[in-house]
Amino acid sequence: MADSVDVLGALKLVYTIYTIIAMSLIAWFARGVVAPEGKPSVVKPSTFYGYVGVLVLVGVSIHILTFNKIPWVEIDFKRDSIKADQTFNITVKDHKFTLPEDKLTIQCSNYVMFDVDSKDLTYGFGLFRQNNTLLLQMQVVPASANQIMWQFHKNGTYHIVSTEYSGPHGGSEMTLKNAVEVVGCDVDDKYAMLEAK
């Protein structure tokens, strides 16, 4: 099952390839448009319409692809109809998270609901690995439902960090180190193991 490391790794590769193609195309165009032997040429309208068709196809395909390949999208869509195996009610106030327990222990493959309530400002709720990479996040808006459902498939220990700015003393100062632990999986999240620091 893909996690954020796999998804972002694929994104890095795809976007880098695209960037190289885009830069090469403009470099080729710049050479060609000033080439002394170059002759004016006209593009057929059919080429233009074909190009627009490709743009539409790409724009739609990205979302269809991610819906099918990124596991948390479907869970997010259906979170109202999936029964949570574990629910953690968390509150935030005065730039501080209050957890139901000192450490939230999660059983592998359980459907877990994080229900975060802000008593004052807009915050963020994110889980980060030991190497500071991001696993998941959501916004925490006061007087609004802030629930995210997740399924963990790897063992690991994660930090809770506010991912939204809430004043000069929000952000990284709102960090609960090693506050979430996933146990019972066959596989370890190698970047989230305590010894992986």
């Binding site: 954020s4 998804v7 972002l8 994104l11 976007y15 695209y18 960037t19 195309l25 403009i26 165009f29 710049a30 448009v33 000033v34 080439a35 170059g38 004016p40 040429s41 006209v42 593009v43 233009f48 190009y51 627009v52 743009l55 790409v58 724009g59 739609v60 990205i62 979302h63 991610t66 990124i70 999208v73 869509f77 807009t122 963020g124 980060f128 190497n131 500071n132 990479t133 991001l134 696993l135 998941l136 996040q137 959501m138 916004q139 808006v141 006061p142 007087a143 609004s144 439902a145 802030n146 629930q147 960090v161 991912t163 939204e164 700015y165 004043g167 000069p168 003393h169 952000g171 990284s172």
Partner: protein, 550 residues
Amino acid sequence: MSFIKTLIQGNEGGLNADGLTPTQKVTLRAVIVGVLYYGLCAIEGMLMRAHAITPLELLEENSHYFSVMTVHPIVGIFGSTYLIVFGAFTFLVPHLMGKPLYSVKLANATWIFIAVGALMSWLGGFIFHYAPLYTLYWPLPVDFKQYDAVGGLVFIVGIAVIMLGTLGFIYNIFATVFYTEEGHEKRAIKPLIISGLGIDGFLNIWYKMTGREPYSKEPAVSLPVVAIFRGTIDTFLDALVILTCGILILIYIVGDMAGMPMDYTAVNALLYKNFFWWGLDLIADGLVLIYVAGTWYLLAMLISGKKLFMQNIARAALLLELVVSWFVWSHHLLGDQGQPNMMKLVSGEMVTAFELVTQGIAVFITLVTLWSARPLKMTMPLKFLLAGILGFMLAVPAGILQADMGLNRVLHNTQWIIGPHVHVAILVGLTMTLYSAMYILWPTLTNDVKLWSNKLANFHFWGQLIGGIGMGAFMGMAGMDGMLRRTLYLNGEYETYMMLAGVCGALLLAAWFAFLFNVVMSIGIQGLIGIFTPSKLKTRDLVPKAQTAE
């Protein structure tokens, strides 16, 4: 000529400010102040970047650091970009319509209001450390446990003054399109509105499909003006939204200062966020993209000397872009779980994906128009135009990728958003397009002052291009490794990326300085001062008569 003499008098005699018309002067004033604000923005950016590498004593207090972060986009977007764009359009719209600007006085008031407003907002951050960031998420801007209400007052009044200046620009542009100049036969409003909105483009396509003669062979409004007209509709809506939010915040500020603090829970934070992003996004996904497309079309026509490829499609696409820009704001709320999934899917993902199509069309039409005139000379305007196109070719797909419910879960609020998307779009896409326009308008606006150094202009080009793309790339890599965009890291977590981004940032700053220096050496300090003195030519003509005759 000695260096000092050139510095004072300009290159080969420099700029004769006495020979500038009022319209030339007001355009140059706005652009020059905009370029200076760009420099302030770049310096702020470098300060923050340096602080992320080695903590600076100057920014030791978090409140100071975040107040710089708060004013950075205000200075960049309004102080710099708005002024440069508004200044250029103040000249271009009457130029393309073939009639004088509706009001030079109003144009002067516009740039002064925006410049003063940007300065006030900057002071709100600099003196009072007011730091709710430009996003102003409710109730942060009225959290007086964290911020001084006086700072909020100065900052918000500054924004309001900017918006008033913006309304002045909007009025002047629409008035210039619609008014009938003295001695001219009364201009009919209907064809101007139909053409300004681009409806004639749709009708021409429809008439062709049904085998009829075109609805309009000679549109009443030229294509670049159509883009400016459309973009200005978004500018108007955006100004209304920002003013409304400003008034709301002001009410709370005044209440607090009067000793009658009000309950901030009276405003629903999610509803406010939707309203605010709807308006704010009309800048990023509305007027910027539309203005840029229009500027590309104009530049392509001027550089190639040809008519635009697929004109009717371009006109129709601009209208589509306007409508698209009204329905995309939910991509900023993909991480908000209270936001209905259907809004995230339709507005946040699907309608947003249309920006790939509309911007892609603009890229294609511009490139094909240029190609149709081969061989061209690689001039500064062409060079900067191609770089501007590349900037959007990189930044728009980055935006489409993050406007995805799956990817947004791990990209939202990271450096990816602000690096490969925002900074590449602004610094490479938008700014290099604006520089292209500046270089092409330079002879017309300065009455043919010769540029002091082509080498410096080339350094400016490469510095801006490599610095902009490089900085965006390293920020993006840090973002993919989990670095958040509005969080201060002082323990060396992402040091390597930040150092590399810092080198690119320094290159950007050097490029700006090279440009500014080249401009000053070309027109001379005397000419520069002369731009800000009243015009001696009592004329409504855009350029002096002698230049027109040539």
